[in-house]
Structures are given as C-alpha cells and as structure tokens.
C-alpha cells in the first residue's frame, strides 16, 4: 500500500503543530522522520495512524481517503518509545493479543506467535511476564506484537531511545531485516542523525512542524537543500560561517580564504553562508585540496577512535572531527585544514546555492 498526506495541517488552539504538509510514503523501505524532540515527528505519526485528526487536509491509503477512520479499522501497528506491553499477560499472550482481536483461529495463533518470537529471540521467555524481562526484551516483545499481524503500516516512534547503547546497536541492525519485504509501509521516528544513516531508506527532516526535505537518506545527507537541512541532519553540528565571494575568491573572517573555479566561481558575487561538516576540518591535511585556517582551541574531546576540537575563529566556534588521536593544547592557536570541495554555499534565504564539488 501507499500512505499519503495531502495538505495536512494540525492546529491545537492557537498553536500550529504541523504546517501544511504533503508526503507520499511507499512500502518496502524505511521512511525515517528525523528531527529534534517536539519537532512534530510524533504528531505526524499520530496523524498517519489515525490517533489524531488533521485540522485540514486528507490522509489517503492506496488513494482512498481514510482521514476520519479510527486506528482500529486501519490495520496498523505502533511501537512506542516506552516499552508498552500488557503487564498482566505472559509474553505469549501479549504477542497473541492482536491476532485474537483480529479473530484469527486459535489453531493458527500459536504457530504465528512462535514464528514472531523466533525472529525476535523471545522463544525462551514466552511464558514470562513483561516485568520479568529486561528493557531490551520488553521492547522486543512490543516489536513482536507489531509484526505478528500482517498490518499495512508499522509506525515506530523512537523505539530504541530508552535502550542501552549496545542493545540499540543490535536491534537497529536487526530491524531492517525484520521488517523488509512485507509490503508494509514502515515509518520510523528518531532524533539521532546517525541512526537515520544506519537505517538507510528515505528520510524526512522535520523541523518545527514542517518537513524541510524528503528523499533517500544518504542523498539528502550529502546534498542538503538548505541550511536548515544541513543543521538538522548533522551530528556533530555542521560548521556555519559567513563568507564573501569576490570573483573567484571566497573570503572568510580572520583573513582566511580560498579560490574557487568553474561552477562555484560562476555564482554571483556577494555574501553567503558556508557550511562544512566537522569531519572535513582536520588537524592534518588529509583531503586532496585543503585550506589552512587557524583558531584558538577551546575544548577537546577524544572518543578513542576520533578526536574532536572546538576552536574559535573569527568570532565563530568551529568543530573539527578527525580519526585517530591528536594532541591539542587548550587555549593555544592551532592550524586546521578545511576541504573547500566539501563546502555548501547557502544564499541569504538559507537555500543551497551550490556545493563545493559541483564540478566533480
């Protein structure tokens, strides 16, 4: 099936939670809603699932208008951030509950529950109750309940947010295999850019009740349509700084600058905002073409495999992220190398004007 939002808005009192949004979701791959808390991801999911009614606009399934239809009649599943199971039922009964509601014959239920339990490695726990399980197992039980019935759409609202880091990694690894190939529309909300990249599929960037950009996940990461996209889809935050273009020269505050050629040189002269992701600013020249910039190091962090430095240059704090271990002295000036080929040039309205490597 396909799920479509047509000019949907949602207002509560004087607050607009969702501005006019149109979106078309296809089955088979992950549709990720990426944005900060309160950006509107959960509201979008509730609208799609029928838990909330749009103030205006339509929700269509396979072209049919389902706007007023209750969630019970839509054959959907929802997995929430908190591990929601029926506390008084065993894991088996929990997983079986959607089948029982749907009136599936008893003879068939046991087989299907066991199949779902096998996929999620819950077989040994079928006769325990949810409060006897760990957080990861509880969430797997909730997931099993979502996949056991063949629903038309599965909504996952930050399902891994309350799990341990490593557990999150494992489940995230399994999820695509688990849900793929069912002809189901999968909607997955997350606030973590890295999670979106790991899951792949298509991503809709959500910011303050608007969808800023929608497209294949890696493509929109590499080609943000505007400054907001680059900011939302960035961890650590993208470096942004004002520049002035004169001819084939780009000038950055603090006397730094570089020359550009081809398509980048051809854009009109004037003021732009340049955006460059932290891993394209490194303490050693690793990229083919680099521009040296100097700044005073304020904070350093080391994550074992990567080094991070926050440095101040021309009144802006820049972040550099590089593989390996680098020794910085806090409070001292250091030289960093920025790769101009990987810069985004944003115009005054925030839209992307051109990407640094436009010429290839």
């Amino acid at each position: 099936m396909t799920l479509e939002l047509r000019n949907v808005t949602k207002r509560v009192g004087a607050d607009t939670h969702i501005h006019e949004t149109s979106l078309r979701l296809e089955p088979g791959e992950f549709n990720i809603l990426l944005g900060a808390t309160n950006a509107g991801k959960s509201t979008l999911i509730k609208l799609m699932a029928g838990l909330e009614k749009p103030t205006s606009g339509e929700i269509r399934v396979d072209g049919e208008n389902v706007t007023g239809l209750s969630p019970q009649k839509r054959n959907i599943s929802l997995v929430h951030q908190f591990f929601i199971n029926y506390p008084h039922m065993t894991v088996f009964d929990n997983i079986a509950s959607p089948l029982r509601v749907a009136g599936i014959p008893k003879s068939e239920i046991a087989g299907r529950v066991e199949q779902a339990a096998d996929i999620l490695q819950l077989r040994p726990m079928l006769h325990r109750r949810p409060d006897e399980l760990s957080g990861g197992q509880q969430q797997r039980c909730a997931l099993a309940r979502a996949i056991v019935k063949e629903s038309k759409a599965i909504f996952l609202d930050e399902p891994l947010a309350n799990l341990d880091y490593k557990l999150r990694e494992e489940l995230r690894e399994q999820l695509p295999d688990l849900l793929a190939g069912r002809g189901t529309v999968i909607v997955y909300a997350t606030s973590e850019p890295t999670e979106a990249l790991l899951l792949g599929g298509r991503t809709a960037l959500v910011h303050e009740g608007r969808i800023v950009q929608f497209g294949p996940t890696t493509e929109i990461y590499h080609n943000p349509a505007n400054q907001l996209s680059a900011t939302v889809f960035s961890d650590p935050p993208v470096n942004l700084a004002p520049v002035v273009k004169r001819g084939n020269r780009i000038e950055l505050a603090g006397g730094h600058g570089w020359t550009v050629e081809g398509a980048v040189a051809a854009i009109p002269d004037g003021a732009y905002t340049v955006g460059v992701r932290p891993h394209f600013v490194s303490p050693v020249p690793v990229h083919e073409r680099t521009v040296p910039i100097r700044g005073v190091v304020r904070i350093t962090e080391l994550s074992g495999s990567e080094s991070v430095a926050h440095f101040e240059m021309g009144g802006h704090v820049w972040v550099s992220l590089s593989p390996g271990v680098h020794a910085y002295k806090v409070g001292e000036e250091h030289e960093f190398y920025m790769a101009p080929e990987h810069c985004f040039y944003f115009g005054e309205n925030g839209d992307l004007v051109i990407k640094g490597d436009a010429d290839g």
């Binding site: 009614k53 205006s56 339509e58 208008n65 706007t67 007023g68």
Partner: protein, 286 residues
C-alpha cells in the same frame, strides 16, 4: 471537512439525557418553586425574588450559614494537616503498606447513617463507651444532648474520624509518586527535613491536596445525615447546619418557596467557593 466524523456526539447523548433527568429537571423544579407562592391544591402565584429577599434577610439563615462555615472551616483545618501528617508517617514500602492502607480505608466504607448512629450510642453518658468513660472515669460532665459545646466537639471529632482517611489516601498517592532521586538530591544539597517537606513533598502533593480540600469542602458543606442522626441539630439549634435547617423548613414547615430559595442560594454559594478555591490553587501552574 465534510468527511469529518460527527458520530462522536452520539456517544455523549445518553449522558446528557441522564444529567437532564437527575440534575437539570429537579433543579428547574426548585427554581420554579423559588419564584412562586403556593397554598396547596396545586395553585401557584408569582412571587418574584421575594423568597430570596426573605431568606437573605433572615437571622435564622445567617445563623445556620455561620454555623456551617464554622464547621467546615474547623474540620478542614484539622483534617488536611492531620491527613498529610499521617501520610508522611506511613511506610512507603514493605508489608505494612497494605495494612496501613486497609486500616485507613475502613472508616470510609461505613455508611453515613451508621456512622451517626454509632457515635450516638458511643457517646451516651450512661451506656456509651466514650460517654461513660468521660462522665464516670474522668469525671468530666459530658452530655451532648444538653451541652452545645459537647455536641459541637462530638460532630467535629466524628467527621475527623470518618473523613481524615480520604485526605491521607490522596496525600499518600501524591507522596509515593515522588521519584527517589528527589530525596537523594535533597540529602546531597544538605536540606533539612522541613526543607524536604516544604520544597519537594508539599509542591508535589499540591495537585492531590487541591482535590482533597475541594472534596472535603463540598462534602462537609453539604453534610446532613451524620449530624442529623447524632444530634438532630440540637441541643436547641446549636448544631443546626445549613442542610438540616433546610430540611426543617421544607419538610417540617412545608414552606416550599423559602426552602427552594434557600437551596438555590446554598447551591450558588457552594459553587462559588469551590470555583474560587480551585482558581486560586491552580493559578500558579503554567
């Protein structure tokens, strides 16, 4: 917006009908009586706001209202702090929790008229346990059919005995919902027990306490059965609270117009005070 589902309103209909029959229709009947004069035989004459004027100017009404206010104020003053104190003293986990909760819930399970009758017998000077003890062991002259003070003390003690548990249970529910981290943080911040109460427990209990005070206010303001069974409003008129007085007027003297006007004033008063109280208590939120 044509597709919007309007069926939701149908579900509210039964409630509307129910409310109409058990509240609106009787209320309207009372309103009807309150503006007319009748001498029986189903003959009614328009009387305007005459009954209201009579009631509001009547010393008898003022006295009953005064007694009612004093009663409600006194029991709130005792029951709320006492309830909070008991809730604070109750264990938070372990075997004793359920024992305490059951003990607390016991008085709430007893019917109103039984409570009145129980206390009536309990306080009889010759055979009642309390009455006998006061008069014959302690030597205090205690007889609530003769002394207004004794009657007052008895109805207040009875109400406190009957209803403090409600405050305890509500306050306790508020207390156990406070995460352990708050107490740990306060310990680390060097807060005294008083500071913990003032800045953590009391603010976190505020919502439930608002409900507790509201419930106790409305209940005690409308109280009828227990004091009626216990003292019948006496000795004299000393414990004739508003509702007792109202019944005397309506059923004893059959002054339906006056009684109806009294009821409406009474109703408006309860509504007004509850609203005022709720507004003040929730003013600071958001």
């Amino acid at each position: 917006m044509k597709t919007e589902n309007q069926r939701g309103w149908l579900f509210v209909l039964p409630v509307l009908i129910l409310v109409a029959f058990n509240a609106l229709v009787p209320l309207m009947t009372v309103v009807n009586y309150s503006v007319q004069e009748t001498f029986g035989d189903n003959l009614f004459f328009w009387h305007g706001v005459g009954w209201f004027e009579d009631v509001l100017r009547s010393d008898r009404f003022h006295a009953a209202l005064g007694r009612q206010a004093l009663f409600t104020f006194t029991i709130l003053l005792i029951e709320v702090p006492l309830g909070v104190a008991i809730a604070l003293a109750m264990p938070r986990k372990g075997f004793w929790v359920s024992v305490c909760l059951v003990l607390m819930a016991l008085p709430l399970l007893i019917p109103w008229n039984v409570v009145g009758a129980m206390w009536n017998i309990f306080t009889l000077p010759d055979i009642g346990l309390l009455g006998y003890f006061m008069n014959h062991v302690l030597g205090i002259d205690y007889n609530m059919t003769q002394s207004p003070l004794a009657a007052w003390v008895t109805i207040i003690v009875m109400d406190v005995w009957h209803w403090t548990s409600l405050v305890v249970l509500l306050a306790y529910a508020g207390l156990i919902s406070i995460p352990e981290a708050y107490y740990q943080a306060a310990k680390i911040d060097g807060a005294s027990n008083w500071a913990v109460f003032r800045y953590i427990q009391l603010p976190k209990m505020k919502r439930v306490l608002t409900i507790a005070v509201l419930l106790r206010f409305m209940d005690s303001f409308n109280i009828y059965t227990e004091p009626f069974v216990l003292t019948g409003g006496g000795p004299g008129n000393s414990t004739t609270l508003l509702s007792i007085d109202l019944v005397k007027v309506a059923l004893g003297q059959f002054d339906l117009g006056i009684a109806a006007a009294m009821s409406l004033i009474y109703f408006a008063f309860t509504l007004l005070v509850s609203w005022l109280f709720y507004t003040i208590m929730t003013r600071n939120e958001q």
